[in-house]
């Protein structure tokens, strides 16, 4: 049977009784069993959990008929959760040896909401340990490989989640984006990656990396699927005090939507294929009713410095809880990258250095926020590259931490400013690696991002592709 690549197609197939939920799971697990050894996108596959839920949902379908799709808006949608998301009764490792045997006693808000909406949990995806990475190579469970070419990285830190979509191991997957960890792997793996506004989705029950930067998002194959999932995951839960229900901006009607091209993002050092592709896509918008305008974000080059001070500082605090007393192994099992970031964070927060580094970074953070506020007075959205290069080879950057950190230069600013972003695939390089762009908008402009993404997909007649092994 042919697996549906979108929620709309899945629901159409189910309504037409083309297959049962059990048969759907059989197909996915067959593919995973056969091909995931090449990709290593899963740390835990939750077969039992999925089949149990499928049986319950199938009964409801029998009982309620098509009404079941109103009761469960994500009925039968298979989901893979990045292994930072606590899943009650199902091992959650954060990609680290420290939590290799950890079984959570509760689920994160996002997991609860997706499960209640009718999702079927396929498993927990591999990721850079503690979300520290931009390639998937920092996992204690082996690197994830890019399904399009297994000698290349899929990006990180949500490496397994991105790869599982490209490899057609699941319909949707979840991720976290602290410095680009959804958008970058989405871009390198050729799938849609969504980072919400900071404060739109509860972080409760998601293993924390940097608490003022972490955003809880997901991967799909089309923009409207990303929207459908966001409708379920967003909003207050009384467990995350940074989440407040609020009105979202509407897609501007009756006037040309303006998309800005920030000049500081098109610098030397970005691969030509990448910048040409973004410009090509900007032209498509321009030729179809949008206005493209050059804008300036003057503090762009400082964003990576701000990020590599604030993030490690917050990491050093958040990882202090792993003391091996109430759960998990002792701290000597932290990998090299975790140790490096904890120590860097400890340094910038320590007496004598706090003002020069951490306080300074918080002030430049304000400047970066102001840059975006000024730009969004002139334009509705921004279009930029996601990564300076397409997917790179496994092993290419892993021995040079600074080189690896520079993979984040185009993604970190959105986390610093707390704004949403949508990474959209648009094509392939000459050697068949994915290319794409990201749309960034002001806080709570998700609806504008989704609609603009959908428009692009429609105008380019975009058809999602997955890898045939």
């Amino acid at each position: 049977m042919e697996l549906a690549l979108t929620i709309e197609k899945l629901h159409k197939d189910l309504k037409e009784k083309r297959y049962s939920l059990i048969e759907l799971l059989d197909s996915y697990f067959y593919r995973i069993d056969k091909h995931d050894k090449k990709i290593n996108s899963f740390i835990t596959v939750s077969r039992e959990n999925a089949y149990l839920k499928a049986k319950q949902l199938q009964s409801s379908f029998k009982e309620l008929g098509d009404e079941v799709f109103k009761k469960y808006p994500l009925f039968g949608v298979t989901v893979a959760y990045k292994d930072l998301f606590l899943t009650r009764g199902v091992r959650t490792t954060a990609g680290s040896k420290i939590l290799r045997d950890f079984i959570p006693s509760y689920s994160s808000t996002v997991v609860k909401r997706l499960q209640e909406a009718g999702c079927l949990m396929i498993g927990k995806t591999n990721c850079d340990a503690w979300a520290h990475g931009a390639s998937g190579e920092n996992s204690d469970f082996g690197p994830v490989r890019n399904p399009w070419n297994q000698e290349y990285v899929p990006g990180g830190s949500s490496s397994g989640s991105a790869a599982s979509i490209a490899a057609n191991f699941t319909l949707i997957s979840t991720g976290t984006d602290t410095g680009g960890s959804i958008r970058q792997p989405a871009n390198l793996s050729g799938v849609v990656g969504f980072k919400p506004t900071y404060g739109a989705v509860s972080r409760y029950g998601v293993i924390a990396m940097a608490s003022s930067l972490d955003s809880i998002g997901h991967f799909t194959r089309k923009s409207d699927d990303a929207k459908r999932i966001f409708e379920v995951t967003k909003g207050e839960d009384n467990k995350d005090s940074t989440v407040k229900n609020t009105d979202y901006l509407n897609f501007p009607k009756g006037k040309k939507v303006k998309i800005g091209l920030p000049k500081e993002y098109f610098i030397k050092g970005i691969e030509k294929q990448v910048s040409e592709e973004v410009k090509r896509c900007a032209k498509i918008f321009q030729d179809n009713g949008f206005e493209i305008k050059e804008v300036s974000l003057p503090h762009t080059k400082y964003a990576i410095y701000v990020y590599y001070i604030i993030q490690p500082a917050e990491v050093s605090s958040n990882l202090a809880r792993y003391d091996g007393i109430r759960y998990g192994e002792k701290r000597d099992l932290f990998g090299e990258e975790a140790k490096r970031r904890i120590m860097l964070g400890t340094y910038v927060l320590s007496t004598g250095y706090y003002d020069a580094y951490y306080l300074k970074a918080m002030k430049v953070r304000t400047k970066i926020i102001e840059d975006f506020e000024k730009a969004f007075k002139e334009v509705d959205l921004l279009i930029t590259p996601v990564s300076p290069t397409p997917a790179f080879k496994i092993g290419e950057k892993v021995d040079d931490p600074l080189k690896m950190y520079l993979a984040d230069i185009f993604t970190v600013a959105a986390n610093i400013a707390g704004i949403p972003g949508l990474a959209i695939p648009s094509g392939f390089t000459k050697n068949n690696l994915p290319l794409g762009f990201q749309l960034l908008g002001p806080r709570f402009s998700e609806n504008i991002l989704f609609e603009t993404g959908s428009f692009f997909e429609k105008i380019t007649d975009y058809k999602p592709k997955t890898v045939s092994f």
């Binding site: 950890f102 404060g199 400082y302 120590m343 400890t346 306080l359 918080m362 002030k363 304000t366 600074l402």
Partner: protein, 99 residues
């Protein structure tokens, strides 16, 4: 290059409750010096009239009623499920005051 010495690395490891080998100490001394020099470029930005931002929501003083919500609380069994190091519903921890 930022002036981070071996003794600084050892001090940081102690502050962060991390055990690091001699090889790691040398490696981190080089890497952290490089990274800290790099991020030190921030000193070039004029922030004399800028207030720091610690989070982007603009929210302040978010409260809820101080009531226990039983349905969201963990049972004793669940709370202790992650470790063998327990006694009479207490977690056993390393002695704080021993050397």
């Amino acid at each position: 290059m930022a002036d981070i010495k071996i003794k600084d690395i050892k001090h940081l490891a102690k502050l962060a409750n991390l055990s690091i080998s001699i090889k790691e100490t040398t490696k981190f001394q080089k890497q952290l010096s490089l990274i800290v020099s790099y991020v030190g470029e921030l000193s070039k930005v004029d922030t004399s009239n800028t207030l720091p931002t610690s989070q982007t929501t603009g929210l302040k003083d978010i409260k809820r009623k101080d009531l226990v919500e039983t349905k969201d609380s963990l049972s004793l069994e669940e709370t202790f499920s992650g470790t063998e190091s327990k006694h009479n519903n207490f977690f056993k921890v390393p002695a704080v005051f021993d050397n």
